[in-house]
């Protein structure tokens, strides 16, 4: 197991290096991409500011707390989009439709790894810094006390959230095996990351259960941000680990099942 993990880590580092050199060939384009990403983030921020110009709090969240939440969500979203979506899952429906998946299946590498993590997109990582800056601004303006001990549970929930987001993306994108022309399926999964920028407390009734279990977006930004703000509830820790394991396992089982249905599209 450890040898296998080391092999994939080594392979991933090589792929990442290759991807970085490819992106750096077009430096102006790279800078423009960073600019566009940051612009999208500030649009979201401005949208929330507009709401807070008219109200003082939303579901118990004041504006400075929301800045922390949006900052955490920005970092989270950029990591998931950069590592998993842009060059990988978004391409999956096209690879299936064109038959390029055949080539991937022939390689002596785990096919789920190949389709979901092959090429990282580095332009998104500098824009994640904007998220960190906004979270720090929220913390400072709000006068919240930063407790370094809270950083460990934050990291655990945040990392589990990343695994959950990856798995949901994989599960939804795998559906393209059946819906050949539904190329925006990964965008549907991506949209959930944007729903996650709402504080968990805005959801009520059955939605609270859905967003905690079947689509656990609460673990993607709301719970990590609450942890940083000193509002950690202990049950979040085992729940996040359990959900990450279940969703990752589920995405793998579903991928293998879908592969059995795949008949190839190339000539």
């Amino acid at each position: 197991m450890a040898t296998k993990l080391r092999k994939y880590l080594k392979l991933y580092l090589k792929l990442a290096k290759f991807s970085a050199s490819l992106e750096m060939e077009y430096r102006f384009s790279f800078i423009l991409e960073v600019f566009v990403e940051v612009a999208f983030f500030f649009v979201t921020l401005f949208g929330m500011r507009v709401v807070y110009w008219n109200v003082s709090e939303i579901a118990g969240w004041h504006f400075n707390e929301l800045l922390v939440l949006l900052g955490v969500n920005m970092v989270f979203t950029e990591l998931v989009l950069g590592f998993v979506f842009i060059y990988n899952l978004r391409e999956l429906p096209f690879k299936i439709a064109k038959g390029d998946l055949d080539m991937i299946l022939l390689k002596p590498i785990n096919s789920q790894f190949s389709v979901s993590l092959w090429r990282p997109y580095f332009a998104l990582f500098p824009s994640a810094l904007a998220g960190i800056v906004v979270a720090v601004v929220g913390f400072t303006r709000g006068g919240f006390a930063f407790n370094p001990i809270m950083f460990l549970p934050f990291l655990l929930i945040f990392s589990c959230g990343l695994v959950i987001a990856y798995s949901i993306g994989m599960l939804i994108s795998t559906l393209s095996m059946w819906f050949i022309n539904a190329t925006p399926l990964p965008m549907l999964a991506q949209q959930l990351l944007f729903v996650a920028r709402n504080p968990y407390s805005v959801f009520s009734g059955a939605w609270r259960i859905i967003f905690l279990t079947f689509l656990p977006i609460a673990f993607m930004a709301s719970f990590p941000a609450s942890t940083l703000l000193g509002k950690l509830e202990l049950w979040w820790l085992p729940a996040s680990v359990a959900l990450a394991v279940v969703f990752l396992w589920g995405s793998n089982v579903f991928w293998k099942f879908a592969l059995k249905k795949y008949s190839g599209a190339s000539s």
Binding site: F28, V50, N181
Partner: protein, 264 residues
């Protein structure tokens, strides 16, 4: 005229091939609408009104944005700049039709397919919201809003066309559509109703053309806009339309002189 009719039919059948993709985009929009509804539900748990909006009016705003968008959205800048950059436009230049006319027809074909899929879904969503949240949607102003959508659609088309022609001079054409989306999200009313923005910001929003693509038709559809304001805004919309039409023509004639393509 016959050649344009034939082209339109071919674009329409091509867009029908991608109805699966259009259906998935519809789901993406519905998830986005749900997200906004959740947020505003939470806002109205502790507030009776926000600005001039009560809950029913804010939900109808977010419901009408994608409906109006179904009529006024344009995606020329997502493919035309690349065609100019790659030289793929050469083949169109040899044919006996106008580039702007075929792009307009192409977008119109896509729109018809989009609307066939979208409108029943949003009608269903409207009925659902009306009953579930006990809100009253006024549809009496919708025909007037749809009439204004014709001009909003043309404004968006010529704005997008002028933006696309910048590809004759600029290399990073992929960013055009994204920059336009950012502008529409902030200044067009896609992300939030512009009348919730404080007065000192509003002058900037009023000076730009983007609000006439989404915000203005949505407000007309919601009703309650005074007649003089409705007419004066329509005049501004038409002025912008003429401006971008002329700008597009100028950029095209300048750009096409600069354009060169070669092959083996």
């Amino acid at each position: 005229m016959k050649k344009y009719w034939v082209l339109f039919k071919s674009y329409l059948s091509a867009s029908l091939e991608y109805r699966g993709a259009l259906f998935t985009w519809l789901l993406v929009e519905l998830v986005s609408l749900s997200s906004a509804t959740f947020l505003w539900l939470a806002v109205f748990r502790t507030n009776q009104t926000v600005g001039d909006y009560d809950f029913g009016r804010i939900v109808s705003y977010y419901l009408l944005v994608p409906v109006i968008g179904g009529f006024t959205s344009i995606f020329v800048s997502e493919h035309l700049p690349r065609k100019i950059k790659d030289g793929a436009i050469s083949i169109d230049l040899l044919k006996p039709y106008s580039i702007s006319a075929i792009n307009l027809l192409n977008q119109f074909g896509i729109k018809l397919t989009q609307l066939t899929i979208k409108l029943p879904a949003y009608l269903f969503a409207g009925i659902f919201f009306t009953h579930f949240f006990n809100i009253h949607l006024q549809l009496i102003y919708l025909p007037l809003a749809l009439f204004i959508c014709i001009f909003s659609y043309l404004l968006h088309f010529y704005l997008d066309l002028a933006l696309s022609y910048l590809a004759f001079w600029v290399d990073d054409t992929w960013s055009f559509g994204l920059i336009k989306t950012v502008a529409l999200m902030v200044f067009g009313g896609l992300s939030f109703p512009l009348d919730l923005v404080p007065q000192n910001f509003r002058l900037l929003f009023d000076l730009l053309p983007f609000k006439y693509i989404y915000f203005y038709p949505v407000k007309v559809a919601q009703g309650g806009m005074p007649a003089n304001q409705l007419v004066s805004q329509l005049v501004v919309l038409l002025t912008w339309l003429v401006f971008f039409f002329i700008l597009g023509k100028l950029l095209w004639f300048k750009g096409i002189r600069k354009y060169g393509a070669y092959g083996n």
